[in-house]
Amino acid sequence: MNQSRKNIFFLVFYLFLLLIVVRLFYWQIYKSQELREASESQTLRQLKNQGLRGQIFTSDGYLLVGNKRVYDLKLDKKNFQGDQGYLAYKLSEIALQDNWQYQEADPFDNKLKEELRKNIEQEIITKFSSKGNWPKLLDNLSENSKKKVEALNDKYLFFDENYERFYPEASMAAHLTGFVGRDENANEIGRYGIEGALEDELKARSENHLLKMDALGFILAGQKYESKNLNGRDITLTIRRDIQNLIEKKLEQGIEKYQADRGEIIVMDSKTGKILALAAWPSYKQWQYFKYDGEVLKNPSLTRLYEPGSTFKTLTIAAGIDTGVINKETVCTKCSGPRQIAGYSIKTWNDQYNPNISMIAGYAKSDNTAMMFISDLLGTDRLVSYLKKFEIGNRINIDLQDDTRTPFPEKIGPVETATISFGQGISTNSLELVRAINTIANRGKILEPIIVDKVFDQQKQEEITTQIKEGPQVISEETAKTVTEMMIEAALHGEAQWIASDKYTVAAKTGTSQIPDPNGGYKENETIASFVGFAPASNPTFTMLVKLENPKSSPWAAETAAPLWYSVADKLMILLNINPDK
């Protein structure tokens, strides 16, 4: 009896144990996924870390492009019970201060102010009736405006933090920096200049962490959490703030004085190829890029091709001397009148001729027939080979968007050879020309222009400095020296002699080029005036190009681009601490 009781007890006991095991199996194996998900949905939180876009500095350490915190204003529409009209009115008054049209308007124009405010008010009212419980009423509010909104003490208003590009130096170097626009998915993307070319370097990184947190939002222990610096790389440009500011002001004054349509000034360090400043006009405000025509946003020093005209004669002279077909005293035996080539009559710029003129005088007088004389002696192949060595047509290899090859004439017959020798029938951009002319300043060795001085990697805390990019020896040192002497002579006794400096030597050349007409031939009354050279000629420190398109005060470079060049050079001598060599 006792034994059977015992058996029953154990049977019940084991059945009970089996029940527990089955139940455990049910929860832990069969229902495990469901339970885990339920638990994780209560504890797992996604933490998104977003870095800031890299900043851009000038070589002297000033911030050119930074990041500014801005705020989007959202409304808890579901719970909001106040007067929508009143709130819209108050918010429109605050948001008006951040409106670019208001900021640019006449401060006394109350009518416009009221009109803009009403527009904003209307936009806010429209957003009240939009779908969703959290309509965004205003975006990109400044810190000041945020404080004013907070002063309204409306508990149904909330802010979302955001960052946007900030330009403490206003539109300085706009063509170099580029701007941050939006792609087709409304994501931020750099466009033009450094922002466009170095998008991958500059862009902010983001990281998502899935972490277990408690009810208060604190991370539960036992999880590896490492917060990284996700900021984009900081870029330091080679430009100097004071020089950039100087040439921008001078260019604007020059454009006004000589009534030009457009203009450019490029200043390059003759010994390193570093761009010390680059200005182009018309310019634009990076934060209002959407207001401007696409053509204005592009850097004209790379994208605006032109026939360089007489400044190009420097390269023809260099090729002639380097091959030994001429020296500076060689007499031109074909300079007594217009040249007839393949049925075309090619004249000098002033239709005056100088029989038996020496090369040095022919270059100073910018004599086309003297250049054709050199190209005759050189032949097409040798001339083309030298132009290619000077990298005419090759991309600049600079960290700026739109840096591409420029078209080099494919078929070069006798007429093209003749016209190319004095800078017609071939197109280039300003940076290509500066690179080529700087070869003479750099004793015959080509230097690639550099715009990025260094890059700072925030993750590795490492600085990467750009190396000087010295290319091959294009012409011999001796040739470079002779061409420099001829350029000094051209500056002293050429068309721009009236403005020559008595404090320092300048090796430079004027260029007044014609503008091709889309209907064939050249435009009658429009020219591109340019002046390119380096100083001090005895020990070149900077190479500079000044280019003015369609100056109306005078079509000639000697009366427009050259005086502007000298007025900038006078200031550069001080800023770069150069001792006068005269």
Binding site: L52, Y62, L63, G66, N67, K68, R69, E143, F166, P168, E169, A170, M172, M213, D214, G217, F218, I219, L220, A221, G222, Y225, S227, R241, D242, N245
Partner: protein, 94 residues
């Protein structure tokens, strides 16, 4: 036998107690650790924002365009030049 049982259960209770204390202690440490990380992370973020704001304000103050503006605003051309020489009767040095 009874004594042995008492010792056995005593030790067992002690072990369970130690285990409970240890668990509570570790958990509290864990919570504190999580709080500390969150606090430091928050602080780091705030400092980064503050730093960015200060450098932004500094950049704006020392902007060359602004400095030039200030320079021009403060410039008052001399309208009435008074030359002072040793013979001037009102010269303080005299």
């Amino acid at each position: 036998m009874k004594k042995n049982l008492s010792i056995y259960y005593g030790l067992l209770s002690l072990t369970v107690l130690v285990q409970v204390v240890l668990t509570v202690f570790t958990l509290s440490q864990n919570i504190g650790y999580g709080q500390k990380i969150s606090y430091l992370e928050n602080k780091r973020e705030n400092i980064a924002v503050e730093k960015n704001q200060i450098s932004q304000e500094l950049a704006q103050i020392i902007a060359i365009k602004k400095l030039e503006q200030t320079e021009n605003d403060g410039f008052i051309p001399i309208s009435d030049v008074i030359s002072v020489n040793r013979d001037s009767s009102n010269l303080a040095l005299k």
